[in-house]
Structure formats: structure tokens, C-alpha cells
Amino acid sequence: MAASLDRRNGFLEFIYWIWNELDRTIFTAIKFSFPARFVSPFGFLGMLTFIMFITLGVTGALLMFYYEPIMTRSWDSVAFINNDVPFGFHIRNLHYHGSNAMVMLAILHMYYQYFSGRYKIRNEVLWVTGVILGTVTILEAFTGYDIIFSERAELAISIAASLTNSIPIAGPMIRELAFGAGFHDFVLRFYAQHVFILPIVMLGLMAVHFPRFLVFDVPMVMAICGAMCLAGGVFPVDLGFKFEPTVPPGITVPEWYLTALYAFLRTQYDKFLTGVLWPALFIGVLLLTPFLDRYKKFSWKDRPWMTAFGITGISQILVTTYWGFYIPPDTTIPLVERLVIDPINLYLVMILLVPLSFGFTLMMIHLAKEAERKAKLAKANGPKKVSEIKLSIKWTNWLLVALLAFQVFLNIAAFNAFLSGMNNVNLWITGVILITFAGFFHLYRYAMSQSKNIPKPPKIPTTKLLESAQKPLSKTDQTKLPEEKLPQGQVVENVTPEIKTNTAELDLDKDPNLGMSDLKKP
């Protein structure tokens, strides 16, 4: 294997040339690491969010080939993509579930950073741009599901526009400038915002938001993409009903990331307060978090007030998210009564959640500290209790073969499903393929790191000596003849007599591991 890779043909030479020339670009400033062992996905949720962004860019660009942002045609064009275009179903579902995954990953990413206090060590700019990015992500997802212009999309658009209208004094003007004057304009302008303006804003923010150290964990990326396909297979996104202006739309709820806001809107208090000021307050507090947090320590256990605030926020979000979804199923009571959430009820629950969350946080901190203390005691006195799975090389090989065979089977099954027109089964199996690949890659990675532990064969002293004697020779040779620069391999061949190096030993020294390959390495 090593021998075949050593021989570089022209194409490979070209690739390596590009790789080396990247030294002159901004990419070398980023430390891009491929972890050689399992690492907790919490550490690189941001990277996963970015992967989703890329996936959405690709699938979205493909959808643009067929989608028509015209009020009377957009729903039909989406129906055409969904039902008639080959793989249109797949691409639309990946785009939809990718957007959900992106919002979810962004939220998880934010809360992980929040509770681990990562925003402290001069990371305030990262945090603030991250919060803005998250808001724009939700706007992006929102404009995305609006431009289908189904009944639900129409209601969502009208809520967005009338919330803008409700801004005192400048509201109607902002609405007309930004969204236009009617649903025809709204669809077209939301489209422009969805496919160009907001993504460009996001890219700009990302340029600031990216930290210098990035983790690209292949198995986890594959698993997330697989989960996206699984979700698409099990819960394929529906088309809804086409919006007809003379037919009033039925009851709909927005996407899950907006039902919390919807719950507040359903109290029928002032629109500006519930729909604009509350979310603005929430985002504002998040933006100010690094400046409000005065603790010197990082862990959530050492920052009880911040943790309690975070838990309160999460509990309120969870409760209102569910509440926004929930519409009493009893159709005998009038629609309005089913939709309206009693404001006293809602705000009372919101207030009640505060002491509950604070109590919960204090309890969790107490329990965690107690567990920490006990673990320390056990470490000092008791026996070491660390269990790990160890696979021999033989079993690793067999497992790799088995996973490969399983992938072959899955590929045939997916193809079969596609041939029989079972699009969602095909999508589901594709998800399983990706997840299997994630497992395969992880096992491979494990095997590679295990092979490092094989005891080295005894060294042959003569080889080393000759090698060290040869080095200065070739170096002087290169400095002497800069004009007629020959490929390095040839120079060595000319200058030194044939030396058979111990390739096995050299390979071991080289570290065959995949891990920690920066772009700077050739």
C-alpha cells in the first residue's frame, strides 16, 4: 500500500501542488483536525451546524432549478418537485429536515457553550455573532417554509408581516419597504431573502464566528446526515393545502422553533409586546450573557446563577413550545376559544417555572458536587473501575468485512426501493447506509490507532547510519542547482548508491494514523 502511494502520477502531483499552495490562503490560519478517536460531539456542534448549512446550500440550489417564486405557482412547483421530478422528493426532504437539524444543532451548540462557559475567555465576539447567526438561521428557516405558499405558509407570512406592521410609527413603512404590498410581493421577496440575502448575511457572520480550531469528525458528520435521511424517510414533509385567497385557511401551527412564540401570540395580548418585544428581550439577554456573567469559573456547577437562568429559559421554551402546538381537540367549542391561550394561565406558569428551575438547578449542582466528591474518594481508596471494549485485529477485520457486506446489501435494497417508486423507503435506507458508514469509519479509525500499539521490530543500525550520511549530500545538491531542479526522488537516486531502506520501520515512524492532519502538512 505504501509503495503504490509513493508513486505520484501527474494528477496526484497537481493535487499536492494545490494543497501546498493553500499555504498562501486564509485556510492555513484554521487548524482543521480530523480526530483519530471518538470525541464528544458537544465540542463540535458548531461544525455540524456548518455541515448542515452546506447541505442546505447544495439541496437548495438544486431545488431552485424547479421552484417558481410566484404566488399562484409556487405550491404547484413544489408539488411538481415532490411528485414528478426524479429525486425531487429526496432533495426536498433533505432540505426540509436539514433545516430542522440546523436549527436544532445551532440551539444545542448555543446551550453547550452557555453551560460550559466557553464565551468567557475573550470569546465574546464569537458568542455575540453566534446569537445573531442563530436568529438569522431561524429567519432563514422561516422564510424557507413560507415560500411554499401553502395555507400554513400564508398564515406564517401574514403573522410575520403584521408583526412588522405592529411596530409603532414606522411599522407599516418598514413592512412595505421590506416585504412589499401583498402576497405576490411577499412570496417573491421572501424568496430573495431566503436564497440570497440571508445566506450572504450568514456567510459574513460566519467569517467572524469561525474559531481557529475546527474539528471535522467524519463518523459524526455521516451519522448526522444519516439521521437527516432517516427523518425524511419516516416523517416525509407534506405539501399542505394550496392557499386560495377566497378559501379561508384552517388551523395550522408554525414549525417547532416558532411555536413558543406562537403560544405567546395566542394569548391575544398586544401583538407588538408578545410577538416583537418578548423575543427581542430574549435575544437581547442572550447577546448580553458574556457581559452579565461575572463568575471567574467556567463549569456550570460553579456558576449557579447563570445555570439557573439557563435552565429557567430552557424550561420556559419547552413548555411554551408544547403549548403553542397544543390545540384542544374538542371541536364542539368555538375555534377562537380553542386557539386562545388564557394569558393569566400562561404567564402564571412562566413565573412558576422560575422558582422550580432555580430549585432544580441547585439540586443538580448539589448532586453533581456530591458525586464528584464520592468519585474522588473512590479514586483514592477503591479499585480502578474502567471498562473498555477491546477488539483484536482479527475481529476488527471481520467486523469491517461484515459492515461492508451490510452496506452492499443496503445499497441493493435502496436501489430496489427506488426502482419500485418507494421514495421514502429509499431515503430511509440511505440514512442507514450513512450511519453504517459512520460505524465503519469509526471501526477503521479504531483499528488504525490499535495498529500503533504493535511492538516495533528491532532496528537495523546500518540503515539509520547510511540515511544520516545521505541527508547533507542531497541538501547541498539542491542548493547548488536551483535552476535545473529535478524531482527530489531522482536527485537522491543519482547521488547515492542503491539503499534499501527498511520500509516497515519507516512506516511505523511516520504514524499511520489519520489524526491531526493540518493543511500545512503535504
Binding site: T72, S158, S162, L177, P248, D270, L335, V336
Partner: protein, 200 residues
């Protein structure tokens, strides 16, 4: 460079001239840039006196249009049928019920209100049933007084003026009873702003 004279503000002469150049350029071009004019859509502002065309294609006549009845009309209508589908161009053309004076054979027995509910822009419609005789929005139950267009129940009624009264159209009739829409003025103090409201 080093012996450049500093002005009173600590600014070098060269910097001052640069600033002057930049300011002069922007001032010179500013009048030619119609700031923000690009953003609002101009297509919805061409207004004229047009006949009231009912969904069946005929012109409404106050002698034949039934009492306590409503139809959907499109205004301003365009040659583009996509734009005519626009909910913002849909109006309820209502002849009042008899108890509100709908039997009179003149334009005072007619009302035209924007169908866009002022709460969250669902499309409300007029219900002529006994005991209702009002505009009702199917989404969140806002109810509109058919005489004035002002919401009296539901979320739209809780909104501050002008967002509690529907924009309206004024009608004229010729000697044969055929009805026309008078050119409206879009503004909260006149015919109102569609989707926003009107001061009653």
C-alpha cells in the same frame, strides 16, 4: 510627509482635502439617488374609477343586487391574472341587511371592505345569517361591524386605532343603477391602508 502642517483639529492638510473630496462627491450625487424609492412596489398605486365587476363577470347594479348579500370583488384589477389572485386586492362588496337600511336604492346601502383581517391577515367574510350579520374572521374570530367596518369582538378589536377598522371603498352609481368604485386614497385618514387599518 513629516513636515506636513497640522490644522487646528490635528488633521493634516492632505486628510482634510481627502475628506472634502469625499464629502463633495457624495453631496454632488445625493440628489440623483432616490433614496429608498426602489423598495416599495409601485404597481398597486395606479387608481381609477372602475365599474364594480362581480365574480360572474357582470357589473353590479343597485336595483338588482340582493339585500343582505356579499360578493368578493377585485380592486385594483390588473391585466395580470396572477396579480388579480392577490388577497390584498380582494374586497367584500356587501349590501347591508334591511334592518341597517340595505333596502334603500342608493349607494348608502352598500359597503366595500378589504377582506384582509386586521389581526393576522386571514380573509374574513360577511355572514348574512339571522343573528350574525357581521364580518367574521375564520382564524381567530375577529368580528367586524358591517355598518362601520370596525372590529367589535376578538383580537382585532383589541388593537389600537387605526388597526381596528377595515379599509373601505367608496361607490358611485349612474342613473341606471350601475355601480362604480370611486378612486380611493390610500392613507389611514382616508380609505385606509390594506392590512393595516383606518381611522374610523
Amino acid at each position: 510627509m513629516s513636515e506636513q502642517e497640522k490644522g487646528p483639529g490635528g488633521m493634516s492638510r492632505r486628510d482634510f482635502l481627502k475628506l472634502l473630496g469625499a464629502a463633495g462627491t457624495s453631496v454632488a450625487f445625493a440628489p440623483f439617488v432616490p433614496w429608498g424609492k426602489f423598495m416599495p412596489n409601485p404597481s398597486s398605486v395606479t387608481l381609477a374609477r372602475v365599474p364594480v365587476i362581480l365574480p360572474d363577470g357582470t357589473q353590479a347594479n343597485l336595483n338588482t343586487f340582493p339585500v343582505n348579500h356579499a360578493e368578493v370583488i377585485t380592486y385594483p384589477e390588473t391585466a395580470d391574472e396572477v396579480l388579480n389572485e392577490e388577497a390584498f386586492r380582494k374586497w367584500q362588496f356587501i349590501r347591508l341587511p334591511e334592518k341597517f337600511g340595505g333596502a334603500r336604492k342608493d349607494t348608502s346601502s352598500f359597503r366595500g371592505y378589504s377582506m384582509i383581517c386586521l389581526h393576522l391577515w386571514c380573509l374574513w367574510k360577511y355572514w348574512p345569517d339571522e343573528g350574525r350579520m357581521r364580518g367574521e374572521c375564520p382564524c381567530h374570530g375577529s368580528m367586524y361591524d358591517v355598518m362601520t367596518g370596525t372590529a367589535f369582538l376578538g383580537p382585532a378589536s383589541l388593537q389600537a386605532p387605526p388597526s381596528n377598522t377595515l379599509p373601505n371603498l367608496d361607490f358611485e352609481a349612474d342613473s341606471d343603477g350601475f355601480m362604480f368604485i370611486s378612486p380611493p386614497t390610500w392613507g389611514v385618514n382616508s380609505n385606509g391602508v390594506v392590512g393595516y387599518g383606518r381611522f374610523a
